[in-house]
Assembly symmetry: C2
Homo-oligomer: 81 residues x 2
Amino acid sequence: MKIGVKILPKSEVLDSQGRAVESMLKNNGRAVHQCRVGKYVQLEVTEANESKALALAREITEFVLYNPLIETFELEVLKGQ
Amino acid sequence: MKIGVKILPKSEVLDSQGRAVESMLKNNGRAVHQCRVGKYVQLEVTEANESKALALAREITEFVLYNPLIETFELEVLKGQ
């Protein structure tokens, strides 16, 4: 089962990469309010049960993928991929 | 309107970061088949119409966010965030 992990910097943390993209887009006439840049990890786990796969992905994300001090994450099950 | 842009390396491209995470997880006893690491960008556009916002996000992604030679991307509308 494929699980997507979206990792973004917390809103109270200065996201310098996001700010750079945002101001560049504004300078180029694209109507953008805000932009945040993070990581996206696609995990293919052997576990076929959806809730167990999600629990494993959560455990893996907390184990190595994200930094709880400055980031938040969200999981999604990727069906039919 | 918030649009999420998920950018991943193409499957035929060597994803060294993903390989590193994958082998590390396997060495630590996590049942993972495959792992791919990419970028996640959250764009908040001023456009309120969903299809126009998606079209703008696609244009922005093709303009600066992804490298068509080695990456693929996917858009998603983030509702209620």
